[in-house]
């Protein structure tokens, strides 16, 4: 089957989207007090670090970044091969934090549901917000992002791929058609 890729965002486009999201996060939360970013493995954790760096540049304030692996909270264990479980690292307490969950692509919402369950098991944040680079639609759960880099209408058999370079910096977003 022929495969074709369409470039949705290039490196500069991604940077502009993340910059805008950084501003929106600061505006919504009135600065960085009690703020924390938590990236979802794998992809969301890289973006969370990018956002933290941008917020640092804008606000000159360091926002703590955590990484969670939601494999153990997935609801599809009996439908697929097991995945390797990576470490969850939260170098701060979640209690009373304003937590921004960061993921690269929002699709059915099941990953976000799992991530929220995982966060709840790890502490009691004041609130949880959601930042995604791409929202491709097809939600199966009542989940809505607070910050969106780009809305990309897709069909179910298409795929969105966020590519990272060796420094884990995002370089492009591709729409893959089968």
């Amino acid at each position: 089957m022929a495969e074709s890729n369409t470039l949705i965002l290039d490196k500069a486009g991604i940077r502009r989207a993340l910059t805008r999201i950084s501003h929106e996060i600061l505006e919504r939360n009135k600065g960085t007090t009690d703020l924390a970013l938590v990236g979802i493995r794998t992809g969301g954790d890289f973006l969370a670090r990018q956002l933290a760096a941008m917020i640092d540049r804008i606000e000159e304030s360091q926002v703590p970044v955590g990484v969670i692996d939601i494999t153990l909270y997935r609801d599809d264990l009996s439908h697929r091969e097991v995945r390797p479980v990576e470490k969850t690292t939260l170098p701060f307490s979640l209690d009373d934090r304003q937590v921004v969950l960061v993921d690269d692509v929002l699709f059915t919402g099941r990953t976000i549901r799992a991530a929220m369950d995982a966060l709840m098991d790890l502490g009691r944040p004041r609130n949880i917000q959601l930042a995604v680079l791409i929202d491709r639609g097809h939600r199966e759960l009542p989940i809505r992002p607070d910050y969106i880099g780009r809305n990309v209408p897709t069909s179910k058999d298409e795929g969105i791929v966020v590519e990272f370079n060796e420094d884990n910096a995002p370089v492009s977003v591709l729409l893959k058609k089968n």
Binding site: L77, R80, V85, K87, T88, T89, A118
Partner: protein, 310 residues
């Protein structure tokens, strides 16, 4: 990185990739065990039966904690309460359990091969928690995890295993797993406790404690089963301790940073003196801690779909 085993019957079936994946996964699970809320919903709705035909506190508790932390529903059946005493065959026991549709059966049995027997007859995944003198894979894997945490890698390490090798399933599982991971294994036991042909595993057989310990990175002491002795295998516990026991003096033959391990329960003053068992080099309680993480990893890895037979 697929894990292709339905059952965990022994380390003999595991490849080096399998073992690495299990240890990596266990490391991730270890973090969960350090949280305030030590529970993830991964095996919610799965039923695990711990079928123990042999008395065991530590292994059963470790499996039970692993199951509960993965949110599985676990049920314990021990020989004293089971129908075994009423003369039921293992096949009938298996069939009856099967009718209740468990997802996983963790079995400990005094007969070597009992887990294989079950695996051939039931649909549930079987985890061997120790069968006769055959294998005890989860113990070996937690030992490997503990060694790897301290030494970084297993490759090239000198691991001395000392004690009743003949009757030790811990020794068998460890020898196989350690050799696969590139470690050198040395064995020491009285001639009455060294199984024939064991050198075919690639392990080296020693006759003197000092030689076996010389330059060792890890010293693994096995429990001498006092209840089995008193007959013909060793003349006395006293003599055993003198020639095969680990003490502060002979431990000096090993590397200064050698780890001292023991699968427990310890016979203090027999296979190991108290000062060594409690000394700086001992990692015995880390072994216990890692046991929960390794068992969580095993239960998790055999729970995925699209697995093929072992």
């Amino acid at each position: 990185m697929a894990f292709s085993h339905k059952h965990i019957l022994g380390t003999a079936q595991l490849s080096t990739d399998d073992i690495s994946l299990i240890l990596d996964t266990a490391e991730s699970f270890k973090e969960i065990n350090q949280r305030d809320i030590k529970k993830v919903p991964t095996l919610r709705g799965r039923t695990v039966i711990n079928l123990f035909f042999e008395a065991s506190t530590r292994t059963r508790v470790s499996f039970e904690i692993a199951e509960k932390r993965l949110s599985a529903d676990s049920i314990n059946i021990s020989a004293s309460t089971s129908s075994v005493v009423k003369g039921e065959t293992l096949e009938d026991t298996a069939r009856n359990l099967e009718a209740m549709r468990p997802d996983i059966i963790v079995i400990r049995h005094s007969a070597s091969g009992a887990p294989h027997y079950l695996a051939e007859r039931v649909n549930a995944a079987i985890v061997n928690a120790g069968d006769g003198a055959h294998e005890h894979p989860s113990q070996a894997l937690l030992d490997l995890m503990t060694i790897r945490e301290h030494k970084g890698s297993l490759k090239g390490l000198n691991v001395a295993i000392i004690g009743d090798i003949t009757h030790s399933r811990v020794a068998r599982s460890n020898i196989l797993a350690l050799k696969k991971m590139g470690a050198s294994v040395r064995l020491l036991a009285p001639g009455t406790m060294m199984p024939p042909g064991i050198e075919k595993t690639g392990a080296r057989v020693f006759t003197r404690m000092e030689d076996c310990l010389d330059g060792a990175d890890v010293v693994m002491m096995l429990r001498i089963q006092l209840e089995r002795q008193g007959n013909t295998l060793i003349p006395s516990v006293r003599e055993y301790a003198r020639f095969f026991g680990l003490n502060r003096s002979n431990l000096k033959c090993a590397k200064p940073d050698a780890l001292v391990m023991h699968p427990g329960p310890i016979n203090r003053g027999v296979e190991i003196t108290s000062d060594v068992a409690d000394g700086d080099q001992n990692v015995i309680l880390e072994q216990v801690e890692n046991g929960v993480a390794v068992r969580m990893a095993l239960l998790y890895l055999i729970s995925g779909e699209s697995v093929s037979e072992t």
